[in-house]
Symmetry: C2
Subunit: 220 residues, 2 copies
């Protein structure tokens, strides 16, 4: 069985990816990063998923890096913008170089654990706003992964050209328990229903024709 | 003045690089990483250099990542090998994906601080042993840097094809105070004079024809 290390945030994309790779026969482990987000709802979801699936999970607390990436509204005490992902205001949710940092840390862990495949869940809906979700970013991090160690590492990004609704549909087919996924940028008891990622979540279930089990505080 | 962020370990290469960029007219800042090394002699040297030159220094304590990269003899309680860098045993000093992690964190900090140039001090002597000092690694991290943000970042590696002795010679010309550089992998009061990096340091001063101010415990 090929081992794979999945970068698991606890959101829909990486959770479905985890189920998908297990379904494909990979021997998976998960790695989850805590980087000073306003809340840890996503991380709790990621933990629950790993417990349900009984797979090893490494949780990395990046205590020292919050202020390296402090421009983002996801960290510290700035306001989370409401509205649609495509809005200019959503740029404030970009965390500087986040995915590249996570993938590079995951590569280090993979080398140490003798795992040669790393999977991450970027998808087409992310491209417009997040520089480090674009296909050109993926190509270049894959090229880097070939040379960071004596032998090449392999980064797989199966959903790169998928829409969010395709991922939801796939998840439904695989029996993903979406109750254990978290999207909302705010850390309230329920999903807010108004921030960019809630709006995207609601849309994705609708477009996928999959019943949305999420309880929202209000739907915009 | 062009701003540059220098990844400063406190060793000879990055210290000379810092002086060199100041000499070339860059407006420099330094970033120094503490990643669970056995000792902090290098970091103290880096601090002293920044104090002498009166330049801003960001020190990042990477509390959460030691166990991601724990295969290396530089971290934890494994023995440091003695001998020459070219020996097979020196591979135990490789820290998984270290430079790529540091460069990626430096890129995040640079984005946050609106600095577009990042400098690091890899040189030709590192190539054989450290995968992430090879020219092919540098090419690919430079290619990555072009796409991690909305605008390209620029990674400069001026000593990539230099030998260590050329860097020492350059440092002597620039008036670098080599007393405030640290090479030894062991964290004793003085450089041990026997580990791979001490052997390389001693050789480099000899080959450069520059007087070595370093006090060694013993010279192999």
């Amino acid at each position: 069985m090929t081992k794979a290390l999945v970068i698991l945030s606890g959101g829909i994309d990486s959770t479905v990816l985890l189920y998908d790779l297990i379904d494909q026969g990979y021997d998976v482990e998960a790695i989850t990063f805590h980087y000073g987000q306003k809340h840890s709802k996503e991380i709790s979801s990621a933990k629950a998923t790993c417990a349900i699936l009984d797979i090893p999970q490494k949780i990395v607390r990046l205590e020292g890096i919050e202020d390296l990436i402090h421009g983002s509204a996801l960290i510290g005490d700035k306001d989370i913008p409401e509205g649609h992902y495509e809005d200019e205001s959503m740029k404030s949710t970009v965390v500087a170089n986040r995915n590249s940092i996570f993938i590079n840390l995951a590569m280090a862990y993979a080398i140490t654990k003798k795992i040669r495949t790393i999977a991450y869940g970027a998808h087409a809906g992310d491209h417009a706003i997040y520089p480090d979700c674009r296909p050109v970013f993926v190509e270049r991090i894959q090229a880097l992964a070939e040379v960071v160690d004596y032998d090449p590492l392999n980064i797989i990004v199966p959903y790169l050209h998928w829409k969010k609704q395709d991922i939801v549909k796939k998840g439904a087919e695989l029996g993903v328990d979406f109750d254990y996924t978290w999207s909302c940028y705010k850390g309230q008891r329920l999903h807010c229903g108004r921030c960019g990622t809630c709006v995207e979540r609601i849309e994705a279930f609708k477009l996928a024709g999959v019943e949305d089990p999420t309880k929202y505080m209000e739907v915009k």
